[in-house]
Amino acid sequence: MKKLYLLLLIVLAACNDIPSDFSVPKWDTDFNLPICSRFYYIDDMVKLDEDVSVDPNNHLYIYQSKQVDDRTSVIKFVDNRIDTTYQNIEMEIANGKGRVGFSFPEGIEIDSCLFFDGNIKLGIKSNSSEEFTAKVTFPTIFDAESKKYSFQKSISPNSQVEQNQNISGFSHSAGTYPNDSLIIEVEILSGNAGNTALLNLEIKDVRFIYLKGFVPTKVISQVKSSKYLPLDNKIKEVNENITLWEPEVIIEANYNTELNLQNIFGTEVQNLQILGKKIDGREKFLENTNGSSNLGNYKLSNGYLFEKINNQNSKLSDFLKFLPDSIVLIGDVLINPENRRGEILRTDSIIVSFQFKVSSYITLENVVLYDTIPLELSQDAIDHIKNGKAAVLTMKLENYTPVTADINAMFTDISKNILFTRQYQGKAGFIDSEGFTNNPTVSVTEFTFDEKDLQDLAKSYYLIIESKFNSASAPQRVAIRNNDWLKVTSYIKLKYKVEIEG
């Protein structure tokens, strides 16, 4: 029986070893986790639109602004230019007939024309003490039915009559008459008109449908078209650090007419200027190689002008360092610069347009951008970070772009006091003499975080990233192409305190 008791005692003693409390221990574990593995084609990051395209031959990006048109009606070159007034012009009357020529202003010569509208008002003042009847004829003016324009008037002694005629639809043909004047012929049909009469003539509001002849040169309008450039606000802050190579401003002008272009008066865009404007009000003119903001005069040939303004004839790259928000084209449109004979239709117009074009040849020199990112860590995330004991974060960048990035990541509190920082450099890919990337570089950096860093990370409110970009290492002119790429791989070895609740 004693042995039985002994066995019972042993069993009871063993039961004493059974713990009265129970809890799952905590421990530190090393987790190897991937953070990210991302492959970026530059093409994925650049949004193509109607202004941005890719040159299929060399994969360069082309920014070509949509053509900005400024349409000017040319007819204002002749409209109202023959408006004039003559007072008390004496007309001799011999054998019952008289004739007077009224010269067009500015030496204008009209071989023929078709009037759109206008008025001719003729006044006849009698010097005779007798009444007479006269027929007045405009031998070069034809009414809408192609009949010579004429009218009859009976004039009382020493009195005056007037004839006001709307000449809409009328035409003019000089024929054998002088083309620099409006001819008026008077025939006395009855009565005695005496030897002279006084004529008043008013040509007013005359506009043309068609005109052929000579009209002296005139500036008819000023071109002023502007184009907003789609620059990111961050990019705008780094002017003077970005050089855009091979930019072009293409100016194009077209004279549109149904006439034979050989016979038109001709056009010239004069005193061309290109003005860059920033939203804050700053302005900068594009200068030619001589330092003048007047880029010169550009004459249309056969009604067409195509002109490129680039670094060969201007300081365009320097101008673009200004990174204007918009570009304004300013110039005068001059008609008949050679003062020659010509013809014009009411529907004639000149379209002056310009385009801004730049390819992705660039130089970046210490282009610094700042980005402040609110971390907005959830309490759950903060708790997890606090459980971190140490970490080694490996960043591996395979860079097939020609841009070197030096990144300073600053973790700050809510007052933007820096808690800790980490620096990283991603070297540019290898580039050839053309500035094209031909081989990737691989940059591997390990960031070590101790427990204090991780506790600071848990307290971080902002991540401020200071990124400094340089094109290659010189820096030098490089080409950004749509098939350039980046591969970012990041992984972490995290020493983490495992706590199992419950």
Partner: protein, 470 residues
């Protein structure tokens, strides 16, 4: 009256426990003390579940009427932590923050898969009646068993404690879980079928047990197929395929995430609606030779349980590839890899823990007169045919001894065997026969009791009280 009260207390204390069979199944206290030897050494009511032929053996073959109240045993085997180690790591009021060395030491306990086998059994009621030697013995017993096999894959423990090593492939395929709660109503009969005095083969006994089984819980995790790999740049890849089956008595009121109905628990130990119904049968033969050698052979628990209530299947079938944890879709592929999808299913069957049992016992004291009293040696070999709780396809071998030096004193048992975890156990037990009752008390692994830092961290205890009415 007081004794009766204590007995009743013990009964009700153990009625939530039940008995389990199988090649490594829990045994009565006497067999437990003999290292698990029972197939040719456990007699009378103690032979239930092992070899029914021995219900009617020499010791008890005279007219008798015996109760066994109560019978209780439990075993807990694991291949890792001793109680001292367990207390060190888990027995703290506040969670212990392990040093790296302590963490590595903890991992060192799991050089193999973490295996834990438990079984708690009780026979709330058993009786046998032997009207005469010729008619044989009848018995009726109710047994309860709650048992489980839990195997946690070594790689899962490694991953949890040490984290994921780069370039290493982790597999959790060895993970396994099977638990159940069965109640068995056993009707047995045994009798001597051959007798020839003064011959080598003196007698042969045969026995049979018919079982009606009610199941109240079954849970298993099956078909685990998994891979977790940390590759270059810490890229995580892998897959997890597994499914679980379960069935609970509606009385538990188990609620599932896919079934929004509210269920109430109306747990009633005695009269709960079972989740499964099964039938089983045991056959056994036992022979006695004239040289003191006894041989037993049986096959137990042929049959199955059909689970039909609250039958639920959960499946997980996921692949993950995470090279960018900042990418939500990829991150979720990992985080959601353990998401399961469950639904009610139709009924399913599980096998009973069928096992072939062979045993031999030898009465050494018949041949060596200097040995006081009775000294019997025993050998058991069990071969399970499945891996249901308590059973294993790994053979179970045990050696045991029973010494009853003087009928006025207690007898002692000891034995050596290996547990399901593969550890070697040294068993010890004692018993006492006093007129109308017999008590056995034992432990399957005395080393774990004597030394809490034992390399064989098993915990077991058995107690039988047999009351002989006539």
């Amino acid at each position: 009256m007081k004794r009766t009260f204590i007995i009743l207390i013990l009964i009700f204390a153990f009625v939530e426990l039940d008995a389990q069979y199988g090649s490594f199944g829990i045994l009565d206290a006497k067999s437990n003390g003999m290292g698990g030897c029972a197939n040719a050494s456990a007699t009378g009511l103690l032979s239930l579940g092992k070899n029914p032929a021995m219900l009617n053996t020499a010791m008890d073959s005279v007219a008798s009427f015996i109760f066994m109240l109560p019978d209780f045993s439990f075993q807990l085997h694991n291949n890792s932590l001793s109680m001292k180690d367990f207390t060190h790591y888990f027995g703290n009021k506040e969670a212990k923050y392990l040093t790296d060395a302590e963490r590595d030491d903890l991992l060192g306990f799991f050089k193999d898969d973490g295996k834990m086998y438990y079984s708690i059994s009780a026979i709330p009621f058993a009786m046998s009646y032997s009207p005469s030697k010729e008619i044989g013995t009848f018995s009726f017993a109710i047994s309860e068993v709650v048992a489980g096999n839990l195997v946690i894959a070594k790689d899962l423990i490694d991953l949890t404690l040490s984290g994921n090593d780069s370039a290493k492939v982790y597999s959790f395929d060895d993970s396994d879980l099977k638990t159940w709660w069965l109640r068995s109503y056993n009707l047995s009969y045994a009798r001597k079928i051959y007798e020839e005095e003064k011959s080598l083969l003196e007698s042969i006994y045969a026995g049979i047990t018919l079982k009606f089984v009610t199941g109240y819980e079954y849970t298993s995790i099956e078909n685990v197929n998994s891979r977790f790999h940390t590759g270059e740049n810490n890229v995580l890849t892998g897959h997890l395929i597994a499914n679980s089956l379960s069935s609970f008595s509606p009385a538990f009121g188990v609620e599932y995430d896919f079934d929004k109905r509210s269920k109430s628990s109306n747990f009633n130990f005695l009269f709960m609606e079972p989740a499964g119904i099964g039938y089983g049968i045991d056959f056994g033969l036992y022979s006695e030779l004239d040289n003191g050698l006894n041989i037993g052979l049986s096959i137990t628990d042929i049959g199955s349980v059909n689970w039909s209530k609250e039958t639920v299947r959960y499946d997980v079938n996921s692949n993950f590839f995470v090279d960018d944890i900042l990418n939500k879709e990829k991150r979720d592929s990992l985080l959601n890899s353990t998401n399961t999808k469950g639904d009610y299913i139709g009924s399913f069957s599980t096998s009973m823990p069928t096992a072939l049992r062979f045993g031999a016992s030898f009465d050494l004291s018949q041949h060596i007169e200097d040995i006081p009293g009775i000294l019997k040696l025993a050998l058991d070999y069990n071969q399970g045919f499945n891996k249901m709780p308590g059973n294993s396809t790994t053979p179970h071998l045990a050696f045991g001894a029973f010494w009853y030096p003087d009928f006025d004193y207690p007898y002692v048992m000891t034995g050596v065997s290996h547990s399901q975890t593969g550890k070697i156990n040294l068993s010890l037990g004692a018993g006492y026969i006093y007129k109308f009752f017999k008590v056995n008390i034992s432990t399957y692994d005395v080393l774990s009791l004597l030394s809490s830092k034992s390399s064989s961290p098993n915990y077991s205890f058995g107690l039988n009280l047999l009351w002989r009415i006539m």
